[in-house]
Symmetry: C2
Subunit: 652 residues, 2 copies
């Protein structure tokens, strides 16, 4: 009974769970909660009174029957795996000073996980580390992670970070002790970023700053546990949440994070009253109808259903979210029809091009000369013709006379181009040239050169090299559209992307620049410009090699954060004030031709406010290829990535 369904969104966040106390009648516990409207229960599997060391003192060590809640037969396999998350005993404390408690905790934790794995549960909820040290806890969990098959381990972490005000009073150490992210970061480092270790965030009545919360959206948060005491009561006496909590819940819904409602012993009380009743069946239904947490569930469902439906573009992009793609190699490879098809649908992009061409035509030819002067416009990389169309429309719009050369190296696209020209009756205006712009010998020079050669990271599909080749046939005072472009990057937490890259277990994937619809990421600092190219470029010592050193600083109230890599964007000036781009703050709206680039780091870097991240990136050019190298220089130096383009390069 999910919370609802948003058009197209089938994510896990539709399901809502409930945390329960230990009860040795699991079937009853389950049916009450499922009938009460919840999708799954987070249930304790072992009697809280159980201690391995007490048991062995009794002398029945060899017998070894554990106080599990009944046998595995009490539920069907699909009930266990669909409706039960194992809740590991709360008392375990693997970093206690008490050695016996440590040993008991290790034994019990391993027994519980083994039992949960036997039941094929999808996940177990591990209690929060008790103190600020978690070395032994993490070691044991790491041991378990090596052998557990598909089960997720959700480490419970309170969403907690003291404010800056408190810091100044208590000093640095105090602050770190209060930031639960630090604890999580240590734990997952010790477990080597294991993909089955994830987070269940405990939502408390008071929330940290927005920047601090933001970090978690790049982390592997699977569940958010919200306690009834974090709710407020509205005028009618129903539970509700503060505005900030509501916003947080929307964030969870958007990031496929499941909500778990947690609410004390009430449910057990209701169970007991049920058991006491004379007619079990009737009473059970009554108790279902008055599941004590139902108002909370209803409110969460209301928040879920209240969300905006996904736009068409969002629905289209859902399948691409956080899915790493290798960038196109448009020079070495020829694009396929399907790719052209997709890009041509990006109406917004061609509207911008048409606006730019209009302005350029008007600047080039004054109104009074519009009937006499013919502008020579060359579309270099014409593909199947969308820029030819935009150019002709611009000519019509401005009343300028135009002669168009459509230069395209992909012979397959040229076929389509010919049929388009014929279909539209453009034969007199448009000349089709089947050639690589870098070696074409043009019969005349152009007034305007129009191209769309940009990649997600601007110059990464070798627009600079192509346009350098094409500007031979641009008049000295000619115009290039785009006239310049700049790449941008920003550091991100992106544990999902990192895990995907790591799963390949090689260096190559860590030294590749990807294209990806980033979604489960935390953007840690505003993006900064990287490389700029201007066209045409006539300076003598011109080189398309570039080197940029950038410093990123976390906002003060963020706390520490882990940088898995950098999101890359571009912004292009098509002509004068007409720009086109996908840098988040200035992005052209409703454009879908480009997903961001992702530049990974081989080892994630922990940064904290006041300790800036220094990043270096190079664009290197060789005789047959162009590639990027990059590194972090501070707070600690990383290796230089992709030396000599050994892992990733773009062929010339």
């Amino acid at each position: 009974m999910p919370l609802g369904e948003r058009a197209g969104d089938k994510s896990d966040s539709r399901y809502c769970g409930v945390e329960t106390e230990f009860n040795d009648d699991i079937p009853q516990l389950l049916s009450l909660n499922i009938n009460g409207g919840f999708d799954f229960v987070v249930a304790t599997l072992m009697d809280p009174a159980y201690r391995p060391s007490l048991k062995s003192d009794e002398g029945n060590k060899s017998c070894g029957v554990l106080p599990f809640a009944g046998s595995d037969l009490v539920l069907s396999p699909s009930q266990w795996s669909s409706h039960v998350v194992g809740r590991i005993s709360l008392w375990i404390d693997l970093d206690s000073e008490d050695e016996l408690l440590r040993r008991d905790s290790e034994t019990c934790l391993k027994q519980e996980i083994a039992w949960a794995a036997h039941l094929s549960l999808q996940a177990c909820l591990l209690p929060s580390p008790k103190g600020t040290s978690c070395g032994n806890y993490a070691r044991v969990v790491n041991q378990i992670l090596q052998s557990v098959n598909n089960m997720q381990l959700w480490l419970r972490i309170p969403l907690q970070k003291s404010d800056e005000d408190t810091v100044n009073e208590t000093g640095d150490l105090g602050r770190e002790q209060m930031d639960s992210w630090e604890l999580w970061n240590s734990f997952r480092n010790l477990c080597e970023h294991h993909s089955q270790l994830s987070i269940a965030l405990d939502i408390l009545p008071s929330l940290p700053s927005a920047n601090s919360i933001g970090r978690w959206f790049g982390e592997p948060v699977r569940a958010a546990i919200i306690h009834t005491n974090s709710f407020l009561t509205n005028a009618k006496g129903y539970p509700c949440l503060s505005k900030r909590h509501q916003k947080l819940m929307s964030g969870f819904f958007n990031h496929s994070i499941q909500i778990v409602i947690s609410g004390n012993q009430d449910i057990n009380n209701s169970l007991r009253s049920t058991e006491a009743g004379p007619n079990n069946n009737n009473n059970r239904i009554e108790s279902v109808q008055r599941h004590p947490l139902r108002p909370y569930l209803d409110y969460v469902g209301y928040l879920y259903q209240r969300m905006d439906v996904l736009s068409e573009q969002e629905r289209f992009e859902l399948g691409y979210r956080d899915f790493l793609q290798s960038p196109l190699q448009p020079l070495m490879d020829n694009l396929e029809a399907q790719t052209y098809e997709t890009f041509e649908k990006d109406t917004m992009k061609y509207i911008q091009y048409q606006r730019a061409i209009c302005k350029a035509l008007q600047d080039r030819v004054p109104d009074e000369a519009s009937s006499t002067v013919t502008t020579i416009l060359m579309v270099v990389g014409a593909g199947r013709g969308p820029l030819v169309r935009a150019s002709l429309q611009a000519a019509e719009e401005t009343g300028r006379k135009l002669k168009v050369y459509a230069v395209e190296k992909n012979p397959n696209a040229v076929v389509t181009l010919h049929s388009l020209v014929k279909l539209e009756g453009w034969e007199k205006i448009v000349t089709i040239v089947s050639s690589d712009m870098r070696c074409w010998e043009a019969p005349e020079k152009a007034d305007i050169l129009v191209s769309e050669l940009l990649g997600s990271f601007g110059d990464n599909e070798l627009s600079p090299e192509c346009l350098d080749g094409a500007q031979r046939f641009l008049k000295e005072d000619g115009i290039s559209i785009p006239s310049s472009y700049t790449s941008y990057i920003q550091p991100v937490t992106a544990s999902k992307l990192y895990a995907d890259i790591k799963s390949h277990k090689d260096l190559v994937h860590f030294e590749t620049i990807y294209v990806v619809k980033i979604h489960r990421v935390a953007r840690l600092a505003p993006s900064q410009p990287v490389f700029t190219f201007v066209h045409p470029e006539y300076s003598i010592n011109n080189s398309n090699q570039r080197y940029k050193k950038l410093q990123f600083e976390l906002p003060n109230d963020t706390g520490s954060a882990l940088v898995h890599g950098f999101a890359g964007y571009f912004d292009a000036t098509l002509y004068k004030d007409v720009h086109l781009g996908m840098e988040p703050l200035t992005a052209t709206p409703n454009m879908f031709s480009w997903f961001p680039a992702f530049i990974p780091l081989r080892t994630p870097v922990c940064i904290r406010p006041g300790l800036p991240l220094e990043f270096h990136i190079w664009r290197c050019c060789g005789p047959t290829k162009v590639w990027y190298e990059w590194c972090v220089a501070s707070p600690t130096a990383s290796p230089v990535h992709n030396t000599n383009g050994r892992s990733y390069w773009v062929g010339l």
Copy 2:
């Protein structure tokens, strides 16, 4: 013409070089300096006036003849490779703000290295990074390192670190800018610890603190360049060095670091005067006799020859220095005769055992009962009998009556044991038992249990498990020799060991504990105790699992340092005040049975004073094996190493 020869020591530090200015007559430059007593020259290969960008402006870009000092034919291949180290142009500055200078530097550096590689030079000296940033310099060097074959690149680094006093005035940033180690550390991180990137230390007139200098002995320092202005003048007018400089030179000699003397233009002056003379041959000899740096060379030779000759033990151990060995598996494997042979020669060890047994015998049997009471002594793990002999000698020394059981699981050793007993006529006193002590059913109980089962890291050869098995046949008030033992560790810089482990390119080698005669290491903090075992051990909840959390703090004047891993030792109490061990501060002298253990880290950790290193280590026991897991928890958490003993374990 090396500085001399210490018995057995054939290390590189016998050779002394000289740094020279550019001279286009390389043969003359070489012969003058070789005849002047030096073993090699550090010579500039390219005209200092050369700039690639100026050249291309002249329009002869395509011609491309570079201003090299003559052709490769001016010296023989063996002269180039044995007597010339290439000195890369000093003007290059790859991190300049001036883009043209950066580009010229990159071109020139690559040309010079290519030329040096063409000449098969053994090494090139790279000039110091000019500022505090070295990202672009390191990137280019890293590119070069990927393709250069065997040549070493010596990065010139001044031995320089400001004092603590200066820190407080200038703040933290100021200190880091003044510590050249930080620069080196960034550079080598960016080059990913490449094994062909090493250091030439520039020795300045004033030296940093001893702790700060100490760090460098764990780094890949290949050469130390000492300028004539770092010398003092003695009463007779000859050059000499301060006491601290002398000590530093001894350190270099001991660590196979070559000295290079650097002394301004004097030698060029003398060259010029030579060229001016009418009779070249005669004059050349004269000029040789008065090589202006000869007094400095003679003094360095004097320091070298003044060093203590190597002791027999040191000579024996020379071949083992920094050579990683896998620890023995004495339970799973049987030792070979050669191994017994080596260990039995360790006289000091058996003297200590004999002293301990004497005291135990005297405590066990009062003088007045010595003729009536027979002590039952069992040697568990008797090998070929050295402890049997020590026991019998102790009995003779104290006048106690003894009955000895020699228990040994290795049937091959038992053969030798039988012949020893026969040879010595011990048949009435010694009973040989061919059995594993863990399952032997003893006919009577022992007063004293003597064993030598310790590994470099104490319990790592499973002494605890063996003695737990043997204490079944120890009387309740019986004595175990040893009665306890404790392992110790300390963090070390050990770039050589790290490089050797890294060269295997797998995880297993990074998760193995080695035995190694550590030599080129820097011990960064005093060692601390880790695991202690006491024998006999009768407590009910006894377990041989252990967990220890340690914090190491660098001395304040060290500066930052890189921890590649931990050196491990043990100290054992044989009986009462008789101990045996190899923990550096308390080591039993002249003992050679144990080299230290080395516990590596997969990723070296940078630590700095005030930011303690927190290390966790576990001894884990399974049904068939014992293993260690370890991790760094602070300043940043490492992965837990050797989870579940996946890479390294000791079989039971």
